[in-house]
Amino acid sequence: MSQKALEDAFREAGGRIVAALAARFRDLDIAEEAFAEACSRAAKAWPVSGPPDAPSAWLYRTAERAALDLVRRRQVRQTLVPDPPEPEPTAEELMSADSAIIPEERLRLIFVCCHPAVAPDSRAALTLRLVCGLEIAEIARAFLTNDIALQQRLVRAKRKIREAGVSFEVPGPEHWPERLGAVLSTLEVAYSKAHEDAAGSGRHAGFAAEMLALTALLATMMPDEAEVQALAAIVRFAEARRPARRAADGAMIPLSEQDPARWSAELIAEARRYCGRALSIGSPAPRILNMMIHALWCGRRSLEEPPPWKAVLSAYDLLAGLQDNPIVTINRAVALAEVEGPEAALAAIAGLEPARFATFLPYQALVGDLLARTGDVEGARAAFDRALALGPGEAEALYIAARREALSGA
């Protein structure tokens, strides 16, 4: 069995197994260590004896035994630790159909990782690690940090969860307004990392695949929560556009210049089902409007059809009324520039303090674009230089550099 086949099996089963173990033993470290142990045993055994018929079930049983060992060893070390919970359903019961670990286990783990008592910058990383089974190095890269720093952040978060007594139960629906908000924004952060990071390399496509799976799971578990349905739709709309996001030279293609023929019709159809569900439940939440903006863009059928700038601007107008958020102001200005012209857009962002946004890439890129259109070549060049100095991703850097080159007199 090849190394890659092993890795695929580990990743495919990892999220579910870690979730099931964490829920059963109420301990994230034991779950992770036990799964790692099972993987290392598999890496030794499978190439020799061939993979088992049901690799996930094999991994689960092995990990479960390793977890019991770990619990026993810990009890010997510290007598104050309470007994492990009574064995719940056996591995065979849980895994009888190779891929059937109860989805609640993963949902539980998501709520643990996204608990408001966990530092916000740790929630997304913890979710990607434990629920999606991503490697530390992959997550560190997406969060622009190094392996050691990320590892420390995860260790701190897991200790906090254990020592502060974060519950492993899914909170009751009466707590969802607050708890679900943290879950959804964590998944959004996780997805946006995936989205940025995945612009090029194929290895990180799994990142996005996991987000599709997780949002689908949440949507199934919470069919009456409009924002859950909306997030499932948003991730699909955005993912559908991935094949059209980069030009042959690797440069980013802005949304309005992407060829809709290259978008995934299948994902758009899926997204629309979630979108319809979200709208039929009805909710005035900002996330619903964000979904509508995605839906407007993905409704474009060809490059010949004019971009839906007017409708997008109206949606941003509504959004700006709901939340005072500089990102909304910036995105609204992008649409405003197309509908009313660059001067109107510059006036709309005049209220944003330049110093506060000095290191915010979308702001600098927008200022560069607007100044270029008003003929302020010097101002535009300076803004593009500031944007490039911020170290954007490869695709964005190529795009901004090209815009800078195209300035007359450059």
Binding site: A117, R159, P171
Partner: protein, 121 residues
């Protein structure tokens, strides 16, 4: 009269937020001796795990938010305390939200270091 004795120390000398280092081994037994000495004067008390395990429910203009970390402001002062026994952090947060406040304020939730049986009071 009843009084509360608040113990302020540099938590870093105790060997991490679990407070399981050598200084704890040195000071812990002294606390047990002191508990004996206080006798019936002692109504309760416990060690607290480090601030790394703190969660704070902050109220600002009627809005409550939950944060990872200890209370970290200087414009408010410790005004009282409740000792509670609940199944998990969520239950503790639920009660912390209901603690009456005059205006703005924060309730810091700190897990207790478990005490040996028979010494919890």
């Amino acid at each position: 009269m009843q009084y509360m004795l608040l113990i302020y120390e540099n938590e870093e000398i105790f060997g991490g937020p679990e407070k399981s280092g050598p200084i704890m081994a040195e000071v812990g037994p002294k606390h047990f001796a002191f508990i004996g000495e206080m006798g019936a004067a002692r109504l309760g008390g416990a060690g607290l795990k480090g601030t790394a395990f703190a969660t704070t429910v902050r109220t600002e203009s009627g809005q409550q938010t939950i944060h990872d970390g200890p209370f970290a402001e200087t414009k408010e002062q410790l005004g009282g305390y409740y000792l509670i026994d609940v199944p998990d952090l969520d239950a503790a947060i639920a009660l912390a939200r209901k603690v009456p406040l005059g205006r703005d304020g924060a309730i810091e939730i700190r897990p207790l270091i478990p005490m040996p049986p028979g010494m919890t009071r």
